[in-house]
């Protein structure tokens, strides 16, 4: 059984509880143990970096140091948490001066970070560490015929980390294919949902969300799959506002990729946190039931 240090992040405590639940259920089914970091703190999302860079690295550093102490790779299901942890770890490893500053602060909590924690997005655990075959093997209720728009969003693929393809990733599509669904050609799969602009610049955010929903509708998707709690919240909870603002009539379910994988594995919907949506996902559920 493979083991990871798990950093759920603030959103998964409540707003995106269903992402946390479906993550725990599906990973357990696949023989992966996610051990939650004890006493983790907020990673700062995009906001700390607006105020103070050193403070931002310190707060992320605390979580990295705790994972290092546990001796496992760190897994984050939220794309912003992932990006912050990944790059902070890389910067601390290559910049001794920065690391000294941060470690001086971490000392106040009896911690220190040597740069040895590998950071992974939850989706990497599925796509790379487990692999498609392993997932296919567990599928009992293939989502045959379900047209899914695989929405990557931003920080799972950007900034660039190595030599990976940042303009045409396909791992999300492959994952959806592995559970029997049909990934559609989603033109806006890498476009921004607006993140926290929904609070600070609503006009811009609503227009971005509209563009994404329109792109998914144009590709005739029955559901948009996400890998980030902020993307999910923006696309789902503000869909009503988009309709009000632009006179559109979108009613597109927005689900976490782990919920779709869970359904395909025959995990009961309640265990996947299904039932707390603003937009009903019943139309999606019928695909998983068909094969029963």
């Amino acid at each position: 059984m493979s083991k990871y240090a798990y950093f759920p992040g603030c959103s998964l405590e409540k707003m995106a509880l269903s992402y946390h639940q479906s993550t725990m259920e599906t990973t357990r089914e696949l023989g992966v143990e996610l051990q939650e970091l004890e006493d983790w703190n907020c990673c700062g999302a995009t906001t700390y970096f607006h105020v103070d860079e050193l403070l931002a690295y310190t707060l992320v550093g605390r979580n990295l140091a705790m994972a290092e102490k546990m001796g496992y790779d760190l897994v984050a299901p939220c794309s912003a948490c992932y990006k912050n942890a990944y790059f902070t770890s890389a910067y601390l490893k290559e910049d001794q001066d920065l690391a000294d500053h941060i470690n001086y602060a971490l000392e106040a909590d009896n911690l220190q970070y040597s740069g040895n924690t590998a950071v992974k997005h939850l989706m990497e655990v599925f796509a790379d560490d487990l692999g498609m075959e392993e997932i296919e093997r567990k599928v009992t209720h293939p989502l045959t015929g379900l047209r899914v728009a695989p929405y990557y969003g931003c920080q799972i693929v950007r900034p660039k980390k190595d030599h990976e393809d940042v303009e045409g990733p396909v791992f999300f599509e492959e994952l959806m294919t592995a559970v029997g669904a049909e990934p559609v050609d989603f033109a806006y799969k890498l476009r921004c949902c607006g993140g926290s602009l929904i609070i600070t610049s609503r006009d811009a955010a609503l227009s971005l969300i509209r563009d994404l929903l329109q792109s998914a509708a144009d590709s005739d998707a029955a559901v948009i799959a996400t890998a980030c709690p902020l993307c999910q919240t923006n696309l789902e909870c503000y869909q009503r506002l988009v309709n009000q603002e632009f006179g559109t009539e979108f009613k597109i379910p927005i689900m976490y990729f782990t919920q779709l994988i869970g359904l395909a594995m025959g995990i009961p919907k309640k265990k996947l946190g299904i039932g707390t949506e603003f937009i009903s996902v019943d139309s999606v559920l019928t695909y998983a039931q068909k094969s029963e």
């Binding site: 603030c10 004890e38 103070d52 403070l55 001086y104 931003c154 950007r158 971005l208």
Partner: protein, 187 residues
């Protein structure tokens, strides 16, 4: 007396921890502006803003709304042929304008960011209900009602927390933050 740094140098110095090239390597190709999904809302496109920084138009840059519209999607950064970390630059300008309090009062971004950071330093984790006052009163009546509607729905679906979170090693956490930004007793 030593020469005063130019505004471009000042801004570049704020980018110490990011790994892109200096702003002076910008070739004004406009790939960033063509890529940016919110460029149409900005008073100056990213390309123009970089040109303005390099031309030392400090006052105009600090009055701009450009960086407060940046959602950190990093698409400009990965496409820049000069390998400038443009999204990192937007962060640097946000910090500069918060420290010097040069931002326009009508922007919600700076106040929201400061409230967010203060709330994290208090409790260690994000808690949506304490963040709302930082922006909700800047909204018009219709937006206010819409936000209340969304919040009510979230509550009914059990998606809003009732109690604020708290770390176990909360005292250590505050001491740690104080070693970076001395805030007295972070209240």
């Amino acid at each position: 007396m030593a020469d005063k740094p130019t505004f471009s140098e000042e801004v570049s110095n704020l980018l110490h921890a990011s790994h892109g090239n200096p702003l002076t390597t910008c070739i004004q190709c406009g790939t960033c502006s063509g890529t940016c999904p919110v460029a149409e809302f900005m008073d100056h496109t990213p390309r123009k803003l970089i040109g303005m920084i390099n031309a030392d138009l400090k006052e105009e840059v600090l009055e701009s709304n450009t960086y407060w519209y940046c959602a950190s999607c990093f698409h400009c950064t990965v496409r820049c042929p000069s390998e400038i970390d443009i999204a990192g630059l937007m962060y640097a300008l946000k910090r500069y304008s918060i420290w010097n309090h040069t931002y326009s009062e009508e922007f919600i971004g700076p106040v929201f960011s400061e409230t967010f950071v203060k709330s994290i330093l208090r409790s260690g984790r994000s808690y949506e209900p304490v963040l709302a006052p930082s922006y909700i009163f800047s909204y018009g009546v219709r937006e206010f009602l819409n936000e209340a509607h969304t919040a009510t729905n979230l509550m009914l679906k059990g998606r809003l927390p009732v109690l604020p979170p708290r770390l176990k090693r909360s005292e250590n956490f505050k001491k740690m933050a104080n070693r970076i930004i001395p805030m007295g007793e972070a209240k």
